[in-house]
């Protein structure tokens, strides 16, 4: 018997017209099961969860359907009065959200916040309550619970806050836990910890988990069953094994094909965007973007088709009575990405040489603003990038990788070290000479919404660089170049008079790329250009970047935390930890034979599609230390599983494994015969 039964749930948002972000969703969750709800942003995953909890925003209402929580007697959640709902929330069903920092009250200690729930639902007070708070903190893996219970949220790191959120959610041992993208805001190593914790707790308490995520990797690690949502509907439900061995719905197949992977020359993309949900759909919602679509798909909405093995799919391809019903499509499914045909030409002329780059931010204190210390955001980083090559700078948030990118462009002034571009020392350049050089060095940012001025037309944004750097002096010629650039990044020239708000995230990122290309750069610093985008859009951008590299011979400094993207795009990889590069080498070397324990942990922590049981996750304890006061010796030793006494002493010298591959770790003999890098 299922614990939660959702049937034909419909939610409507009344914002101007009525939008139907959840339109007839049906699923069951059994006790002790992890049910993953997978989908791209804007497809209604979160609103489904909020509808179940009846926590919809003011403009939203549940238009129909049935939500039943079963436990002996069935409770119809939609029919309950609000007071009864309040007794259920937190007690029988609990929810954790994406952003742990925003979910905790900043002026209450975490202990009080847990106690609040206990008092409300379990009626615990005094000693018993305190006891239970400590137990819960222990259970979610927070050491030194007695002291930590008195901490305020700001004293905790992101991972810790999410643990506290989980403790609050679990306070009354709920039957159902809804986790809405619980690890999206966290780093991979922390994500691995939190997922592990959720799995453990579920195993112990036997609760059901409704996991909402956009990350196929997380699904592969966690889920027992998977539902794929698209445009307000569930298009496919399957068990994990079925799902990963053979996805059925064309949308799901596309999602898999769009994942960046090593060896794919191009990623499959899904043309178009998710349709607006403010209208009726007489047809299949995916028809416009589906390459298998035929006439029927545009005339009739597909019904839910149950297939063997308890899986179901919403697609005409699998309906029995439909002529040409094509299991064959699923069977002949070949990874969309064609194999890489030829290795890119190897040029060894270093375009950018960075040598012991340091960026220290002074910490000022007191009335006189005296410098009392430094945040060593970047502390001696060296690497080279050859023309036409991609160096991926990998690391967790806060390790200083973005600062490296910005200081190369002198958006942040470096404190020490040299940056040579085409042989010229950028740091020593005067203003006017630097301006000349700016046309060769460009940057693409992470957030496509913040990287375009909302008050400027697209053409003005793209043109600005050309005008400022006087690469194209004549206004008419500039306009022609704008048209050319828009075509180059796959947009139409007619769009140039629009404002940024008329474009989707992926399109904006294309515009940002066109803007950078406008001045014909030779090197582009890509600062996590795809981390804010959905998988299918990410695929488009990555394809574009790769294609531009082939055509224009661009070099990229690709800053990212996503290992899969690295595999797809990078020629060389540098792994950063706390302001320093701990390992550097060619992509094959790093990804196949990582030497540094941190690199190994990072690679193992990234969720993969391959069955989770086979791989061994190297668990890292703790979190990134503060760069104000880095640990002595090797920065990584407090979290390192192989830490030795000598790691505490001095920062290790480079150990070379090949001409390109080196790491800083005492596990390997140091051989600084070649230059000390």
């Amino acid at each position: 018997m299922s614990l939660l039964h959702v049937e034909n749930l419909q939610t409507v948002l009344d914002t101007g017209g009525s939008v139907r972000p959840v339109d007839g969703v049906t699923f069951d969750i059994a006790r002790g099961e992890t049910f993953a709800l997978l989908g791209e942003s804007g497809c209604g995953k979160s609103l489904t969860a909020l509808s179940i909890m009846r926590l919809l925003p003011e403009v939203g209402r549940i238009a129909g359907g049935l939500v039943r929580l079963q436990d002996g007697d069935a409770l119809d959640l939609l029919a309950l009065p609000e007071t009864a709902m309040r007794n259920l929330r937190g007690k029988r069903m609990a929810m954790i959200f994406q952003e742990p920092a925003a979910s905790l009250n900043p002026v209450m200690t975490v202990g009080e916040q847990i106690a609040e729930v206990l008092e409300r639902h379990a009626g615990l007070r005094g000693e018993a309550q305190q006891q239970r708070v400590l137990e819960l903190l222990d259970a979610v893996g927070i050491s030194d619970a007695v002291r930590r219970a008195r901490d305020y949220p700001f004293q905790m790191s992101g991972g810790m806050k999410q643990r506290v959120m989980i403790a609050i959610a679990l306070a009354c041992a709920p039957d159902l836990l809804i986790a809405d993208e619980p690890t999206t805001a966290l780093d991979v190593t922390i994500q691995a910890q939190v997922l592990e914790l959720l799995r453990e707790l579920q195993h112990k308490n036997g609760m059901a988990l409704l996991l909402i995520t956009h990350d196929l990797g997380v699904v592969a690690e966690m889920a027992h069953r998977v539902a794929v949502m698209y445009a307000g509907e569930i298009v496919e439900i399957a068990s994990r094994e079925q799902f990963f061995s053979r996805p059925l719905h064309p949308y799901t197949q596309k999602l898999f094909a769009a994942l960046p992977q090593k060896g794919k020359a191009r990623l499959a993309t899904i043309p178009g965007t998710v349709p607006m949900l403010n209208r009726e759909f007489p047809c299949c919602r995916f028809a416009d973007r589906c390459e298998h679509a035929w006439a029927l798909c545009r005339e009739q909405a597909p019904a839910w088709t149950l297939l063997e093995g308890g899986r179901g799919v919403r697609c005409h391809l699998y309906e029995e009575h439909v002529a040409g019903s094509a299991w064959s499509v699923a069977k002949s499914e070949e990874p969309e990405g064609t194999r890489m045909s030829h290795p890119p030409p190897v040029t060894r002329y270093p375009l950018l040489q960075v040598e012991s780059l340091r960026v220290h931010f002074p910490i000022r204190k007191g009335v006189l603003q005296r410098v009392s210390g430094y945040v060593k955001a970047v502390d001696g980083v060296s690497f080279d990038i050859a023309a036409g090559r991609t160096l991926a700078l990998v690391g967790e948030s806060g390790c200083g990788k973005t600062t490296v990118g910005k200081s190369i462009l002198r958006l942040i002034e470096p404190s020490a070290g040299t940056v040579r571009f085409g042989g010229e020392n950028i740091g020593a350049l005067r203003r006017d000479r630097m301006r000349m050089l700016r046309s060769q060095l460009q940057i693409i940012f992470q957030d496509p919404y913040a990287s375009l001025n909302p008050r400027m037309r697209v053409a003005e944004s793209i043109e600005e660089g050309m005008a400022a750097l006087e690469t194209v002096a004549d206004a008419a010629a500039r306009m022609r170049r704008v048209d050319e650039l828009l075509a180059q990044v796959g947009l139409s020239a007619a769009m140039k008079y629009r404002y940024p708000h008329e474009f989707s995230g992926g399109q904006r990122q294309r515009i940002a790329i066109a803007r950078a290309l406008a001045v014909r750069p030779r090197l582009i610093v890509c600062d996590e250009p795809t981390s804010a985008l959905d998988v299918s859009v990410q695929a488009q951008i990555l394809n574009l970047l790769k294609q531009l590299q082939d055509e224009l011979g661009l070099a990229y400094l690709f800053i990212t935390h996503n290992i899969a993207v690295v595999e797809f795009l990078a020629h060389e990889v540098a792994v950063m930890y706390l302001g320093r590069i701990v390992e550097c080498g060619s992509a094959e070397e790093i990804l196949n034979t990582p030497r540094h324990p941190y690199t190994q942990a990072l690679l193992s922590a990234a969720p993969r599609l391959e069955s989770a049981g086979e791989r061994r996750v190297i668990k890292l304890s703790g979190e990134l230390p503060s760069p104000i006061n880095p640990p002595p010796g090797c920065h990584f030793h407090p979290r390192c599983p192989h830490a030795m006494p000598q790691c505490r002493g001095e920062y290790p010298q480079a150990s070379r494994f090949s001409a390109t591959h080196h790491a800083h770790c005492y596990l390997y003999p140091s051989n600084p015969l070649n230059d000390g890098a």
Binding site: V59, P454, A516
Partner: protein, 470 residues
């Protein structure tokens, strides 16, 4: 002879700026969108309808001229009195002065006097007014009836005007959309249009119901009575509108350059520039502003008194003092907006598009004007509209204290100031205060409601809910 006073010139300038702004906004979709939201707000449109009446009065009162005197041989002479178009329209109101106080809609003076009768006897009684109710042979019996009768006629007239305006509006809308008149009327009536025209029409009806009877009655009566020297209080209240509007709008014009330049510079350049600007406005903020204003106003007054030759007319002199008051109010009130802009700029300068511009080597000045300025304009607009009503009230307070506008200039403040002593009188003279109070109340309330609508439309935080759920 047309006369352009300093404040007139600035008002024309402001009007021109507003017209240019409207033209620019109409062409750009992203700028137009929030204004459309304002137009869709009910309270906002109701307030705007009321404001239109005030603006019309204020603008009419800002076209000044000196009437030609009777021709006496070849050379034309002009009166030293400066009149406005509004004065011309309200000639009756302006010239129908009594001897002293009279109550609203009265036919007799408020104070008893010795009256010489035709037969030479003297009686002590309330004398008849020269203009108020002068057409009535027996006011004691006929006055109430006459007033009611005229009001009734006026209401009918109001209805006719309203119907004509409503029909005109519907016809215009119907033509613009190309649908039948009847359908359009139904849509408007049931509030189905995007812009809440039915609210506009209702407000218009309410305004007409008040304004038309006042206008009709004012031909034969003093609707709000008369003041100490027998001037019609309604006229004074109407003249005060311009003063209020000038203070409310021109002050912001003065303070804008300070607030914009310093606020954005502090936020963008940080470092010592920020320190200096912050010290300046914190210092300025810590001086009680009334003190500063009083000192400045008294200084200018003494200067003006010592140089009477600088001013051709009394109006010019009063006008310059008004302008100085605006400047001084502006100088003391830029700090709030400056602080807001500094904060917003601090946030914006870290935005990625600013960094992208820096990566292109775009000049600082261009970054400030092209990237930062347009993105803080919504804050400027919101605070300007919000500030307006505060300034109108500030003028009233300052004039009451005696450091406001020139005593010869009619304003809400001077009206209240001169009425305050009469409040202590028995029987009380309450109407001057009531008139000033109710006019100011309606003006400020409308301005505040409109400001609310503007803030709702422009403030990004108000819209976050909609964006998230979309």
């Amino acid at each position: 002879m047309p006369v352009v006073l300093w404040t007139d010139a600035l008002i024309y300038l402001l009007l021109a700026a507003v017209i240019v702004f409207v033209v620019v906004v109409r062409r750009r979709e992203h700028l137009l969108a929030p204004w459309q939201r304002v137009a869709h707000s009910r309270s906002g449109m109701a307030a705007a309808t009321v404001l239109v009446f005030f603006l019309a009065a204020g603008l009419l009162d800002s076209v000044h001229y000196r009437p030609a005197l009777a021709d006496n041989g070849g050379e034309r002479n002009y009166s030293v009195e400066v009149l406005s178009l509004f004065d011309l329209l309200a000639t009756q109101l302006r010239t129908h002065t009594e001897k002293t106080y009279s109550a609203p809609l009265a036919a007799h003076l408020f104070a008893k006097e010795n009256i010489s009768l035709a037969d030479g006897r003297q009686v002590r009684d309330f004398p008849r007014l020269v203009h108020g109710g002068a057409h009535l042979p027996d006011p004691a019996n006929e006055l109430a009836h006459d007033v009611l009768w005229r009001s009734g006629l006026a209401l009918l007239l109001a209805l006719v005007i309203w119907l004509a305006l409503a029909a005109g509006l519907v016809a215009w809308l119907a033509r613009r959309r190309g649908i039948a008149w009847r359908d359009m009327a139904r849509q408007v009536w049931y509030g189905k249009t995007e812009i809440p025209w039915h609210v506009v029409l209702l407000t218009l009806a309410a305004m007409l119901v008040v304004v038309v009877p006042m206008w009709v009655l004012s031909a034969n009566y003093h609707v709000f009575g008369t003041d100490k020297v027998g001037q019609d209080v309604l006229y004074l209240a109407l003249k005060s509108i311009r003063t209020g509007l000038v203070i409310g709008t021109l002050t912001t014009l003065v303070m804008l350059p300070f607030a914009l330049l310093l606020g954005i510079a502090a936020g963008y350049f940080k470092g010592w520039a920020d320190d200096v600007i912050q010290y300046v406005y914190t210092t300025l903020n810590s001086i009680p502003s009334v003190l500063l204003i009083a000192a400045a106003v008294l200084m200018t007054q003494i200067y003006m008194d010592l140089h009477p030759e600088l001013f051709e007319t009394v109006a010019a002199r009063a006008d310059l003092r008004l302008l100085f008051l605006c400047v001084i109010l502006g100088i003391t009130s830029w700090t709030g907006l400056c602080r807001l802009l500094r904060g917003e700029t601090l946030k914006l300068r870290e935005m990625e598009y600013i960094q992208a511009a820096q990566a292109f080597g775009v000049s600082q000045w261009r970054i400030l004007t092209r990237h930062i300025l347009p993105n803080v304009m919504h804050i400027v607009l919101i605070s300007l509209v919000m500030e307006f009503s505060a300034l109108v009230l500030a003028e009233a307070v300052l004039s009451y204290v005696g450091v406001g506008v020139d005593p010869s200039m009619i304003s809400f403040g001077t009206m209240i100031n001169s009425a305050r002593l009469e409040m202590a009188r028995e029987p009380m003279v309450w109407w001057a205060l009531l008139a000033a109070f109710s006019f100011m109340f309606v003006l400020v309330l409308a301005a505040n409601l409109f400001a609310d609508a503007v803030r709702d439309a422009f403030d990004p935080r108000v819209q976050t809910l909609k964006v998230k759920t979309a």
